[in-house]
Symmetry: C2
Subunit: 313 residues, 2 copies
């Protein structure tokens, strides 16, 4: 029997991702630059931009950009807007890693198998590179050429600012800091992760969705998908921190236990954490089933949720 026909009807995440990532990498390469933006006299100083590029280019799973593009596909949204939104989420993620790795935070020297930004460029440059990456994210979302509507630009800025700020990612990191050595309940741990990682992952989904026109039921379904998938990501991160090694992860393994950080594994144990991740995957897929969005168009979102939960690094 020729299985190729059957295979072709399955969604091929690997090939879909490769196409997206190729476009994302080229866009980031073009946008994280020392060239002066149109209308400005000055470009950016070369060393700062070098540190920004080091932090962003050629590394990472690019999960957030993929979520943006997959959600945009689900709603058949504006692809140009989605590419900018995809890159903006990655810039925010990258800046958070740069700052998170600094000595006053996690003090990590290895990231994606390379020296961290402050190790390579010094702490002051790392601090500024992170700051500049955050600003660049919002610059990307507001192109002067109006290739997509101002209302969409404003909505994308709104979603990203909330996801990144004190009631989102930065807030979650603050709770994370305060929780070292503390005993958290599962509820408290979930609250922390909903901010720290969940907000930007869910925000990525909603930014992709904001590139199209959504009815309320579709929006609510994608929010639920994003929430479940975002939390699943963190549960699996906690599992991998225990079960994997640094070479596979591309970052220091076993760090959570070493730093006495509360994790899903430390609270629920390994087996219940694994079961919880599978439950969250089921919840994310159920949200899409009930969304009213066509199964075909949500294939990338489905495959990404599955990848998040069943990944090895």
């Amino acid at each position: 029997m020729d299985t190729r026909v059957k295979t072709a009807t399955l969604f091929d995440l690997r090939s879909w991702s490769a196409g997206c990532l190729d476009r994302v990498e080229r866009a980031l390469e073009r946008w994280v630059t020392a060239e002066a933006p149109a209308g400005l006299d000055h470009g950016a100083p070369a060393e700062l931009v070098e540190a920004m590029r080091y932090a962003v280019l050629d590394g990472g799973k690019r999960l957030r950009p993929l979520l943006v593009l997959a959600a945009c596909e689900a709603v058949q949204g504006n692809e140009g807007a989605a590419m900018r939104a995809a890159c903006a989420t990655e810039l925010i993620h990258a800046y958070s890693l740069v700052h998170d790795d600094m000595p006053c935070m996690d003090n990590d020297i290895l990231r994606r198998g390379k020296p961290t930004v402050h190790v390579k460029f010094g702490e002051a440059t790392a601090l500024l590179a992170g700051d500049a990456l955050q600003a660049l994210a919002f610059e990307l979302l507001t192109p002067e050429d109006a290739t997509f509507p101002a209302a969409m630009q404003a909505q994308l800025c709104r979603l990203l600012a909330r996801a990144a700020g004190s009631a989102g990612m930065a807030g979650g990191q603050a709770i994370d800091l305060a929780s070292v050595g503390e005993r958290l309940s599962e509820r408290q741990l979930r609250d922390m992760h909903e901010l720290k990682t969940g907000a930007l992952l869910q925000g990525s989904v909603m930014m992709g969705a904001a590139c199209g026109n959504l009815i309320q039921a579709e929006k609510a379904a994608l929010e639920n998908y994003g929430a479940a998938m975002g939390l699943a990501f963190q549960v699996v991160d906690d599992i991998l921190d225990v079960t994997s090694d640094s070479a596979t992860l591309g970052k220091t393994a076993g760090k959570d236990a070493l730093q006495d950080k509360p994790t899903y594994v430390s609270i629920l144990g390994l087996e219940r954490s694994r079961a919880h991740a599978q439950e969250l995957l089921a919840r994310a897929l159920a949200a899409l089933d009930g969304s009213g969005l066509s199964h075909d168009r949500t294939q990338a979102l489905r495959a990404l949720a599955d990848m998040v939960v069943n990944r090895a690094h």
Copy 2:
């Protein structure tokens, strides 16, 4: 002779500023908060917000907000939008001070007469508070209630992102870092300051202007005003660092010389620096004269430029 009639026809900057600052303080007080934004489950963690409030509230000249509001007056723009823009510029300024004061940057322990944020809250919280303040600035510019047009929201985000980023403030700080102990030409020093301080000051003017409808000639004139005034601010800052004391400045005086930083005073000398500041003031006022905007409506901008150059701290 009764001078009161004559006095009343002069623009009273003190009273104009007091009215503006009262509204700005109340707005900041309301917007830098731990409450969950509409539509979000989570508020921000209390300690992080406390550090953000400490960094922002009750301190500083609020020059950037005043420039936004004065420019909005000049173009008779949308006041609600201008108040958000005013607060957003101050949040960006405040975050830059928090990060700038950290040990890996200027390592300063005194700011506005109070311990710096990292001294009071620890370095990790200072880093995150700065990051969250930047995000909050963009959140302020994109209110969900659409009290001002989406095109204005997007334009304000665009201007702020550029002014704050690698081709603006953060870029200028990177050049500043790299220039410690270096001999700069006046041209190089000017380039550095045009980014480090000038970009956000000029950006504040242009954000205020973006709250109204401008013709091209008015826009160009306000850009010239903003550029001259922004540079004047830095020249005077360099002068005050030499001629004033810490108590008057509310920050450590004599710091530039101590850190061997190039300044206008070190390059031009004190007298030529003073003359240069007056030239820049004249240039700023001339730009307004040639703007086509009515003299009446630009009185606040004129008085602010005068105050920037002739201030004692």
